[in-house]
Amino acid sequence: MTAVRRYPVLVALIIAALFMVLPFGIVAVNAVKSPAEYASNGPLSLPHGLYLDGLEDFWQRVDYGQKLVNSVLISGSVAIGAAVLSVLNAYAIGIGRIRGRTWVLAFFVLANMLPQEALVYPVYYLSKQAGLYDTRLSVIIVFTVVQAAFGTYLLSSVLGQFPREIIEAARIDGANKWQVLWRIVVPVSRPTIGVLLVFFFIWTWNEFLLPLVMLISNDNQTVSVALGVLQGQRLMDATMTNAAALLGVLPAIVFFLVFQRTLTRGIAVGAVK
């Protein structure tokens, strides 16, 4: 193909890609404008200076630091808990080859596909009975289990292909199943487990319905819920909205930059396996 015909396609793709990131740019530009400037010049003008009061006001108004702590705490606990649960399940299914494993695995797959709407009211009701309503622990428990369903079936397939000689050798050397799991299987599967940790963390960070229902008090809310609820109430002016959007976007961009390789590799693990 000649160069003359190559470039239009590339340019079209670049324009499409710019269109994808344009909203992020518009948000960033408007989050640093003063309300007066926004009112007189509209959303498309470039800001004249850095106006950070909007960001600061918003940060204090929603106690954003606390929301970040909650999100990190919940997502981090879920990632670790779900990874441990997935490893235990997958060890039994992928390496133990327990009887009826196909059914067990199918059960986990279907559990992962259930809409949360079919669980949300009983979970709300039961957590009230158990005194766990409006606690971060309730959300951690539920998502640990839900995410472990995905982890179980991804890890089971990886462990299903685990070199059996290594395990046999360790068994002959006198290691019991528990030791084989923690000293051999887990270290060897570390790349896949790392991918799972990243996905569990980000998915839990982004969850909306269950945290919306379960975490009603300000002190317990996650970033997603706090922003979503504010938006739903339509109490914010344009500058405030942009401050909210920018503060919501920033963690996502940080994850993206830090974990991009893991994310892509994770999808490759999933898709190529």
Binding site: R6, P43, R97, P115, E117, A118, F199, V269
Partner: protein, 322 residues
């Protein structure tokens, strides 16, 4: 959020295909499954059964539920709000599964087989990252961003239209009942497109480059190579992406909550939002449970049919190769 949940079908199938190792009794491995199974019973199975049970009762969330048999389901059949919400689900399937899969295929092929080859894999990777970025965004934040861009007064989209002299096209994108659903669809395409793109690009990496070279030597143009090599080679990925995105589309909640709250006048209501308001705003718990049970049945049937279909397609493919 989406991403990689796709492998379920293949995983299940792999385990079907392998003969059990008969050497040693394996029952004690079952102990490792115990915590997982107990946790699942408590958090998924019991609540799910409760929800199904409640759907056969008349219950406001307080007092004891009164058995009402199929009354809720009979009421659903005549509830135009319920049917409308499922109709909107079909629009969401178009916006979140059909369109992103089709666009994702073309973009993945263009980035992999054209940009990657002629301009380097780095540029392809940067472009891929741009398309994938919205996928890591919490849907609530995506909703904030877009509800402001689409705002009627001083929203960016309207300002942009005015700036380029198309002021007559300005709309109340989310507030006009005739437009709101399409606006939400547009946002969902933006949110969703990165997922198929990344999966397809990963899938393309296992295609033998010689296939493309041979086709190019034979004089096949880009579209012919796309149709005769790319599409057939990544068919497993296409099935899985379509299945997974369709299920995600049926479950969509956060976007509707943040963008429109199902409005204006129910124009963007979807089953999950409908059941949410029925549970927590109208406190008709029995009725809400019936809505979510119907949604669950649809999703599980779809998942089972999809997995079966995929398994059969793969078996057929393997049969051909063997």
């Amino acid at each position: 959020m989406t991403a990689t949940v796709e492998r379920g079908g293949q995983v299940v199938r792999r385990h079907h295909g392998r003969a059990a190792h008969p050497r040693r009794p394996r029952s004690s491995y079952a102990l490792f499954l115990l915590p997982g199974v107990l946790a699942f019973l408590a958090v998924v199975v019991v609540p799910f059964l409760m929800n199904t049970g409640v759907s056969f009762t008349d219950w406001q969330g307080v007092g004891s539920p009164k058995w009402s048999g199929l009354a809720n389901y009979r009421e659903l059949m005549d509830d135009s709000e319920f049917w409308a919400s499922f109709r909107h689900s079909l629009f969401m399937v178009v916006a979140m599964a059909a369109v992103p899969t089709a666009l994702g295929l073309v973009l993945a092929a263009a980035l992999f087989d054209f940009v990657g080859k002629h301009f380097g894999t780095r540029i392809a990777a940067v472009l891929r990252a741009c398309f994938y970025l919205p996928q890591v965004l919490p849907i609530a934040v995506a909703g904030i961003v877009w509800s402001w861009i689409l705002a009627p007064d001083n929203g960016s989209l309207n300002a942009l239209l005015k700036a380029v002299g198309l002021g007559s096209l300005q709309q109340d994108w989310l507030g006009d009942p005739d437009l709101a659903l399409y606006s939400v669809m547009g946002v969902m395409v933006w949110v969703q497109i990165g997922f198929p793109l990344v999966v397809f690009m990963a899938g393309l990496q296992r295609v033998d480059p010689q296939l493309y070279e041979a086709a190019e030597l034979d004089g096949a143009g880009w579209w012919r190579r796309f149709a005769h090599i790319t599409l057939p080679q990544i068919r497993p990925e296409i099935y899985v992406v379509l299945l997974w995105c369709t299920i995600a589309a049926l479950k969509v909640f956060g976007a509707v909550y943040v963008l429109t709250k199902g409005g204006p006048g129910g124009a963007t209501d979807v089953p999950s939002y409908f059941s949410f308001t029925t549970f927590f705003e109208k406190t008709q718990v029995g009725y809400g449970a019936a809505i979510s049970t119907v949604l669950t049945v649809i999703i599980l049937v779809l998942a089972l049919v999809g997995l079966k279909f995929q398994t059969r397609a793969e078996d057929a493919e393997e049969g051909l190769r063997a």
